[in-house]
């Protein structure tokens, strides 16, 4: 899956539960995923990151970031993050996968209404993750470390 020069997004895990974030990261790294992974503990933190220009690639650049967004978070929750991102034309192409801890039809419905139809039930494993990325489209590239290059 490795394509030199193609856009390999940084993966931004947005989850208030540290344990879930660690498990997700470990599951992805165990499958030798090489994309950089960052963790944000709440919705506001990731919004600040995405809307603050300068220090990092702009989120509007397709393929720059892939959000793994938990829905239920205190204060600024996942639905609110989705709403804010979808309301901004510059962020419209941002790749977002919604995370749910239960198969809650109502939550999925709300996310669907906000323009996100790819969601994953936690815990995230690499197979389901790669599948979700495929459904998101072609502009995303997953970096898989070759066994010799693994550290």
């Amino acid at each position: 899956m490795k394509h030199e020069g193609a856009l390999a997004p940084d993966i931004l895990i947005v989850d208030d539960d540290d344990g879930h974030a660690i498990l997700t990261r470990e599951n992805l790294e165990a499958a030798a995923l090489g994309n950089p992974i960052r963790h944000f503990r709440d919705g506001q933190a990731v919004l600040d990151f995405l809307f603050e220009p300068g220090s990092h690639p702009p989120a509007s650049k397709a393929g720059a970031y892939l959000l793994l967004l938990d829905i239920r978070m205190p204060k600024v929750d996942g639905v609110e993050v989705l709403r804010r991102l979808r309301a901004d034309p510059k962020q419209r192409n941002l790749a977002i996968i919604v995370l749910t801890s239960a198969d809650d039809a109502r939550e999925v419905e709300r996310c669907h209404a906000l323009g996100c139809d790819v969601y994953l039930k936690k815990p995230v494993d690499f197979g389901k993750f790669a599948d979700a990325v495929r459904r998101l489209g072609l502009s995303l590239t997953l970096l898989i470390k070759s066994p010799s290059g693994a550290d």
Binding site: G19, H20, I22, L23, R72, P74, K75, S101, K122
Partner: protein, 389 residues
Amino acid sequence: MAATLKELRDIKAALDEHSIVAMTDASGRITYANDKFCSISKYSLGELLGQDHRIINSGYHPKAFFRDMWETIESGRTWRGEIRNRAKDGSSYWVDTTIFPCMGRTGRPTKYVSIRTEITQRKADAAQLKRYSEDLAEKNMELEAIVSTLSHDLRSPLINVQGFGKQLARACEEIRAAFAASPDRALPASAVRQPLEVAIPQALNFINAGVSKMDSLLTGLLRFSRLGREALTIERLDMNALVAAAFSAMKFQLDAAGADVHVGRLPDGRGDRVLTGQVFSNLIDNALKYRHPGRALRIAVDGHVENGQNVYSVADNGIGIALEHQPKAFEIFHRLNPEGPAGEGLGLAIARRVLERQGGRIWVESAGDAGSTFYLSIPSAEAQPPPFP
């Protein structure tokens, strides 16, 4: 002929026993009213004769209602319907009404006979039933919300227990493999350091935290459900004494925070002493927990009577609750600020439950930063106990 007349008289007598009967001329003026009509409308026959039915119009029905009625009977058809009327003393009563037009030779009605049955009680029952069913629907929705919240909140630690359980298993496997690979059965330190120092403690930490979280959720749920079953002892409550007791139980923390407490004159209420006291304790506790770091805490409790309910307010000058978070403040296990002071997310959910069972309500007004005012209502001391505990 005489026999027929006798039979008609008998039928009329029976009708008078059963029904409210009146007759009007073609223009609607009352020409006859039986005793039942007089007694239910509380007008004497003399007051009714010559009047039209506007004398008992309650103003409840729209004009179109009576227009339709007149169109029907003037065209010679019988009209049936339920009408709310007003008696002389202002009280209202419902009647199931049939108006029969008596046709003259010209093909137009010359008079109308109306026969009515009182259905005031049935109407009241139907309204009550509607209230009950709305109440039930609301309770069902609450229950669904609780189940949904709880299943989410329980799944969350469960994911950690499962995930880090696997991590433990992997660490075991690593150690086992290293053990098997060493010919002299002596483990090199490098093989066990990572699992022993990082993976296993981390996994145990998250598993333990997850288990305690599930434990506290289930304990909280039990507490919440117990409140729904416990029998209430509804009595007259001296609210000033009750609030004073709640404050004095927390005197130490209030003094430590340098809190300025003001309690106005509170009208006596009706409710369960212990549970209502707990609601006030909880609100005071919240005011303490969520006080503003930049100003001395002030708590003011006041009360007044509003539409037969007593409304009490507990106002603080704490950190307040943003408008968008206010509806969620009373949801079970919802914590507005999980990183803030310790709490289970139960206090306000329990307060709401307690008050609703006593026929009251709780709500909050907050302009954010300036503090919060919680309002709670309970029946006033003179009120009847709620019919739907």
